[in-house]
């Protein structure tokens, strides 16, 4: 089956039985290969599948085996030609063991496969007998008739003298080419047309999966199996990634539990759930977590970043205090203390004086003091006083500024310090120092303030520095112990993310796989059914009296569980086939299975060569075998090699049509072939047997023309077939033509003119060319229908025999 057919079937099933969701895309992608599956998993839209570059080409034309020429191979010495009827029908090649008949099938196998299964796996010694001992020049050639072609296909191999078994090259149509060029390589593997006794015997011995492969190979489901495998691998890879991610978790957990960091606790919680909260983990590890106020880390970092009172600021503040204070004092020491008041007084005095007439001092009553000079002096004095006052104010202002500046330096202990708690750093000393620091005199006394600053400042600075250092140290220590954990987690995070995405992918893949499995089972059952039924039918015929009955054959299972199940019942009880069947029955079973396989319509090989199937078979089975082979021979060229006379005997007893060729070997490996029987010949023999009977009553004589007529019809059929083959007519046409004739005259017309409708001309033709035959033919036509016979019965039969030879001259294979 071509790929396109399979894809079409899958597409149709996707419509009628869709799988869930994303699985649809996966199923389609699976047929395009692993990359398509991967990209579908990633979420890319699938490119509309280019209909697979299908092997939509039609297979090679059907082929029948026409001739086989063998020289110097195995038991065959001088060149021998085997001619076969290249069409449906049964041919038996009979010869004793060692007559060289198997050499023909082995030669064909050698030609096609370049090797021989008989030697495969055996020590080299077996191979040494490949070349005939008497005739050391080896060549094998086969001619095949192809459907619709006039020219036969010629395959040959030649060995140079002295070359080894491998020293040949396959030549097709005159040019060295491999089998693939005519499209036979794959069919040879799937529908091998050569069945050897050895193969039959061991077919059921091999493991159940080998048997499965041998039969499933032809069902054309290779692409489906490949798609399943693609999905399976993809799923395994995805599951592996999940497993890796999960597998790392216990180790991480151990690390985290050992770490005292509170981030570890966060991560552990996030890991505890079935679906990991990867974002939380990522934040915790990269430090972006909004750590709450209570967290130790936060405290530590606060502590490490306590506001630092710099020494310079302290010194400066103290200095300023002292400076401004000194300035104020200095200014106050002068009259500056009262400068303001005095200035105010003087101002008032001046104001009063402005409006006074006399120069009497209103205060002490002294006369003549408030003069113009006095006014000038007072004015100057006023200015001085005012500037002094200003200076004082300024200095006081400065002092206040210095004080307030210093006050600002004195802060309350920060919350971090107060609530440091158990951050692992001792903050008691610092807290105390700060508290003392905070209790600065706030009475405006700069000196006291300065003293306070001077005393407690350095202490504070030292204590805070200690705390900061300790905190920083602690943080570093924690960081050092946390880093490896963090790194481990960071390394694991991408895996974890991938694994999380993978979970959904696994579900989809499993769903797609399950769907494909169901589709596979369905298709496989469908496609195998014809083979199973044919096998069952074959077995029914072959088993004859065996009390083993074969029920349903099924191909089941997949991968390591694949096998062919045979429902076998012995006298109604279920049993295991291989345990209860005799070797002969097993051979029959194997034949039942492999004949359908070789006869499948897809196979270009319309011939099947069976080497010695009769071994180990019961006589009754041989009849069944003959029937089965004959049935297969209705549509296939069946060539059977046997040393056992029971098979040709059974064929004759059953009245089955077959050509029997005898193989005889002389000295020096001279092998001779002689056809001993053709269908026409047999009918003549039967007719003769009756004709020669003494005392045959007249009424019985009319039976003879009946047999003669059958002989003529058989000869006509053969002649017509040969001619149509020569003309290169397609096989289907030939078979259709052979259905047409119904009477003797139409058969003769077909044979003589190639046209069954010209039956009216047969008589005149015979009169003209073979006048002795005209009367016998008339008798054949008439004699069947009644009247008694008068005349020479034996002569009549002889004439008919002669006519059969005329209609259908013996081919080279006929004796």
């Amino acid at each position: 089956m071509s790929d396109a057919t399979l894809l079409a079937l899958v597409a149709r099933r996707l419509e009628t039985h869709p799988p869930s969701g994303a699985a649809v895309d996966l199923v389609v992608a699976a047929f395009q290969g692993r990359e398509a599956v991967d990209s579908t998993l990633r979420g890319d839209k699938l490119a509309t599948a280019a209909t697979a570059a299908a092997a939509g080409v039609t297979g090679p034309p059907a082929a029948y085996l026409a001739e086989l020429h063998v020289e110097g191979f195995r038991g065959i010495g001088p060149p021998v030609a085997l001619h076969l009827r290249p069409g449906p029908g049964l041919t038996l090649i009979v010869g004793r063991n060692g007559s060289g008949k198997s050499s023909f099938s082995e030669a064909l196998e050698m030609l096609l496969l370049g090797s021989n299964r008989r030697w495969a796996g055996r020590p080299k010694v077996w191979e040494d007998g490949w070349q005939n001992l008497h005739h050391r020049h080896t060549s094998i050639e086969a001619r095949f008739n192809l459907d619709g072609r006039r020219e036969p296909l010629v395959l040959s191999r030649r060995w140079a003298d002295g070359a080894g078994l491998d020293g040949s090259v396959l030549v097709i149509g005159g040019k060295p080419r491999p089998l693939e060029t005519i499209g036979w390589a794959q069919p040879l593997a799937a529908h091998p047309p050569l069945l050897s006794h050895h193969e039959l015997e061991t077919a059921l011995d091999e493991g159940p999966s080998r048997l499965y492969d041998a039969l499933a190979g032809i069902l054309g489901l290779g692409d489906l199996t490949a798609a399943q495998e693609t999905l399976r691998r993809a799923r395994l890879d995805v599951e592996a990634s999940i497993k890796t991610a999960r597998g790392a978790v216990p180790a991480l957990r151990a690390l985290l539990e050992k770490a005292e960091d509170e981030r570890a606790a966060t991560v552990l919680t996030a890991l505890a759930t079935k679906v990991w909260d990867l974002d939380v983990i990522a934040d915790a590890v990269s430090g972006l977590a909004a750590a709450d106020e209570q967290s130790t880390l936060r405290r530590l970092s606060d502590l490490a970043s306590l506001p630092v009172l710099s020494r310079e600021d302290l010194e400066e503040a103290i200095h300023r205090l002292r400076l401004t204070h000194a300035e104020v004092e200095r200014i106050r020491e002068g009259d500056a203390g009262r400068a303001d008041e005095t200035a105010a007084l003087l101002q008032q005095a001046l104001d009063v004086h402005t409006h006074a007439v006399d120069q009497t001092c209103p205060v002490c009553g002294t006369e003549g003091v408030l003069t113009y000079d006095w006014r000038l002096r007072a004015g100057q004095r006023l200015q001085e006083l005012r500037s002094q006052a200003a200076a004082l104010r300024q200095a006081t202002g400065d002092l206040q500024t210095a004080i307030s500046h210093s006050a600002r330096l004195v802060t309350a202990p920060p919350a971090a310090l107060r609530e440091a708690g158990d951050a692992g750093v001792s903050t008691v000393a610092a807290l105390q120092a700060w508290q003392r620091w905070a209790q600065s005199p706030d009475d405006g006394d700069a000196i006291r303030l300065a003293a306070h600053l001077k005393t407690n400042g350095p202490l504070l600075i030292a204590a805070v520095a200690d705390v900061r250092r300790a905190a920083a140290g602690e943080m570093q220590r924690r960081e050092r112990s946390w880093r490896p954990v963090a790194e481990a987690i960071l390394a694991w995070l991408p895996q974890a993310r991938a694994a999380r995405d993978a979970e959904t992918a696994v579900e989809a893949l499993k769903s797609a796989e399950a769907w494909l499995r169901a589709a596979h089972d369905e298709l496989r059952g469908e496609r195998f059914r014809p083979i199973a039924e044919a096998a069952q039918a074959n077995w029914t015929e072959l088993r004859q009296d065996s009390n083993v009955s074969l029920g349903e054959l099924r191909l089941t299972g997949a991968s390591t569980q694949r096998r062919l199940t045979l429902d076998v019942k012995v006298d109604g009880e279920s049993a295991s086939a291989l345990g209860v069947m005799s070797q002969g029955e097993l051979n029959c079973l194997a034949l039942s299975l492999f004949l359908p396989r070789a006869s499948m319509p897809e196979s270009p090989f319309r011939f099947v060569v069976i080497d010695d199937p009769v071994q180990a078979m019961d006589p009754s089975k041989v009849e069944g075998l003959a029937t089965t082979l004959s049935r297969a021979a209705r549509h296939r060229q069946v060539v059977v090699l046997t040393h056992d006379t029971r098979l040709p005997d059974a064929v004759r007893f059953l009245g089955l049509e077959a050509t029997i060729i005898r193989v005889v070997r002389r000295e020096s490996s001279e092998v001779e072939l002689r056809a001993v029987d053709t269908p026409a010949h047999r009918h003549i023999e039967d007719a003769m047997a009756i004709a020669q009977t003494e005392g045959l009553p007249a009424e019985a004589m009319r039976v003879v023309p009946g047999f003669c007529r059958m002989a003529l019809e058989a000869a006509a059929a053969e002649a017509a077939t040969r001619r149509m083959r020569r003309e290169g007519r397609p096989f289907a046409d030939v078979e259709a033509e052979l259905q047409r004739p119904t009477t003797l005259m139409t058969w003769l017309a077909l044979a003589l003119f190639g046209d069954a409708t010209r039956s009216g001309e047969v008589n005149s033709y015979l009169e003209r060319h073979h006048p002795w035959a005209a009367q016998p033919v008339r008798e054949c036509n008439r004699g069947v229908h009644g009247a008694a016979w008068a005349g020479d019965l034996i002569g009549f039969v002889r004439d008919v025999e002669k006519l059969t030879a005329v209609i259908c001259p013996p081919a080279p294979s006929d004796g």
């Binding site: 009296d545 009553p697 009424e699």
Partner: protein
């Protein structure tokens, strides 16, 4: 009766009887259709029966049965005897033959 003495001989006995049955049926047929034919060889007779009964299929089966019975009746000690099932089939054919012969004869005699 000594049953042991007869052990293993039943195939041949059955074959004899079956063959006789066939011969009788054929004789009856020939008596009506082709007198004298019963004196010819068995092979000739069975070859002809299909035509006279106008049943080629039955004729073929009679040939088979006849071949088997002949072999069984003439077999040497060391040859394989027919199996029970084979004999059964042959007997069935013999019955069929007898019936067919009888009906043909009746038709002709009427």
């Amino acid at each position: 009766m000594e049953v042991e003495a007869t052990a293993g001989l039943w195939p041949r006995a059955a074959a004899f009887l079956a063959r006789q049955a066939v011969e009788v049926a054929l004789a009856r047929l020939w008596g009506v259709t082709a007198p004298g034919l019963e004196r010819t060889s068995g092979r000739c007779q069975v070859l002809c029966v299909g035509a006279f009964l106008d049943d080629r299929d039955l004729g073929g089966r009679v040939v088979l049965a006849w071949n088997l019975l002949s072999q069984a009746c003439h077999h040497r000690v060391y040859e394989l005897a027919p199996t029970a099932a084979e004999l059964n089939r042959t007997l069935e054919t013999a019955w069929e033959l007898a019936d067919a012969c009888e009906s043909v004869c009746r038709r002709i005699e009427r």
